[in-house]
């Protein structure tokens, strides 16, 4: 993978002090199973939050609720200074059409966000693709991409409309070490440009140097929240 291009996705407008997402006693229950229990958190702009925990801990459900894909059973999620239109969401699945090329996928999703099918939009999509080290001229359908390429394209799709908030579910799964390091460098740049990033990962070692806060869940409950400097070696091993 080549070095990330300088034409990466940056939020168009600067973050303001008021920009934050507040979760107030949020719970999500599926049948008899409580996926998320009474969680209160605040996510502030220009930071990278890392959600940690075992499978089934409720991290992805929390992210889906923040993206507006699921409604909390109780509690509330309030956006201060943000709109859902300026959120980018990357799921565990690729959210891409296998039969289309990377560029065709990005151009389609750009149109959903109001970017007309003109040369500006094309160059914007090409820039975002380059920022994740993918060749915009690659005509191969996504079904022939490697898993790592899919992950990077999926990240590009989430960034195509210059979001102010990025919600990323397992962005580094099946990505090689070099690609993961380039992706974290890109996320770090976005954070410095004012973007709020909330990511779910099992690979703490990949993000331990870029994450600002590390929030751990267990069985749907918030267990701990630590700043980067407060991380313990056992956290990284877990």
């Amino acid at each position: 993978m080549s070095a990330p291009s300088k034409s990466h996705s940056l939020p168009a407008d600067a973050a303001t002090e008021e920009q934050r997402i507040a979760l107030d006693r949020v719970s999500k229950v599926f049948g008899r199973v409580a996926a998320v229990r009474e969680t209160s958190l605040e996510f502030i702009h220009s930071r990278i939050y890392v959600l940690l925990g075992d499978n089934g801990a409720g991290k992805s459900t929390l992210l889906r609720m923040m993206a507006g894909l699921a409604q909390p059973t109780s509690g509330s999620i309030t956006l201060h200074g943000y709109t859902r239109e300026r959120m980018g969401y990357m799921a565990h699945a690729s959210l891409l059409y296998d039969e289309l090329s990377g560029m065709e996928n990005l151009r389609y999703f750009a149109q959903l966000y109001g970017m007309a099918a003109n040369t500006d939009a094309v160059s914007r999509c090409a820039g975002v693709m380059s920022s994740v080290a993918l060749d915009p001229a690659l005509a191969t359908p996504v079904r022939d991409y490697s898993q790592g390429m899919r992950q990077r394209l999926s990240l590009a799709r989430a960034m195509v409309h210059s979001p102010q908030v990025l919600l990323l579910d397992e962005p580094f799964s099946n990505v090689d070490a070099a690609s993961a390091s380039q992706m974290t460098a890109l996320l770090s740049k976005l954070r410095h440009a004012g973007c709020l990033i909330v990511l779910v990962t099992h690979q703490l070692s990949v993000v331990k140097d870029v994450g600002d806060e590390f929030i751990t869940f267990r069985a749907g409950q918030l267990i701990s929240s630590r700043r980067r400097g407060q991380l313990r070696p056992t956290d990284i091993i877990q």
């Binding site: 507006g68 065709e104 007309a116």
Partner: protein, 229 residues
């Protein structure tokens, strides 16, 4: 930068273009639908040996039942693509309207089913030795209205059955009963035109009314269906 700055028309065109491109590359729906419709027509042609008069009486029923079943294949495919890799979630988080997605799908399915009809209908006429005794141009109107009735309704109910465990089974169970008034109108209008006895006007008006009601209902209710958890 929001979808409101872009017209719903542009998003509708983007959805339609994407669906046409996906189908052109995979040909999943077209191949399955074409093969199925042709098979039904050929089997019926070989099973019966009707006179020209009998053919005119039964052709409408055979043709539309064949296409009702064949359309189900395309309708299941259309949403299966959106569920693969959970792409529908990417649409749901975007500010694009649900109605633009629904209408794009209906138009796409209309083109797919219409294309297969355009190929199979002439063969059908040859197999059954049919020559319309009524105004032939009305057959085209019935085909357009009938196809729209099948796909507008079918696209909505296919979306409704999207998250059910056996969606392939569920779609016909939901779609066929509600399509009975449309199917009756299509068959009666087609038979009347082929036999040349009387006017098919009433059946065509009924079909047009059915199209308007179910298209509007689909547009109004689709957002609820799409965002159901």
């Amino acid at each position: 930068m929001s979808a409101s700055t872009n017209s719903s028309g542009a998003i509708l065109r983007a959805n339609l273009a994407k669906d046409l491109r996906l189908e052109w590359r995979s040909k999943d729906a077209l191949n399955a639908m074409g093969f199925f419709a042709l098979l039904v027509v050929v089997i019926f042609a070989l099973s019966f040996d009707p006179t020209a008069e009998e053919s005119r009486r039964i052709a409408g029923g055979i043709f539309w039942v064949a296409f009702l079943f064949a359309a189900v294949v395309a309708l299941n495919q259309t949403w299966a693509r959106e569920m693969r890799n959970q792409v529908l979630d990417a649409y749901r988080v975007s500010p694009a309207s649900a109605s633009a997605l629904f209408l794009g799908k209906v138009l796409g399915n209309f083109l797919f089913v219409g294309a297969i009809e355009a190929v199979v209908a002439p063969l059908f006429m040859v197999f059954y030795n049919l020559r319309p005794l009524g105004p032939a141009w009305q057959l085209i109107v019935v085909f357009l209205l009938g196809t729209w009735a099948l796909v507008a309704n079918g696209t909505f109910f296919a979306a409704l059955s999207l998250r059910t465990r056996n969606r392939e089974v569920m779609l016909p169970l939901l779609l066929f009963p509600i399509s009975v008034p449309a199917l009756l109108s299509m068959v009666e209008a087609t038979t009347t035109i082929l036999a040349g006895d009387g006017s098919a006007g009433m059946w065509m008006k009924m079909l047009a009314g059915y199209d308007v009601i179910f298209t509007v209902a689909g547009l109004l209710l689709f957002e609820l269906v799409m965002n159901a958890e």
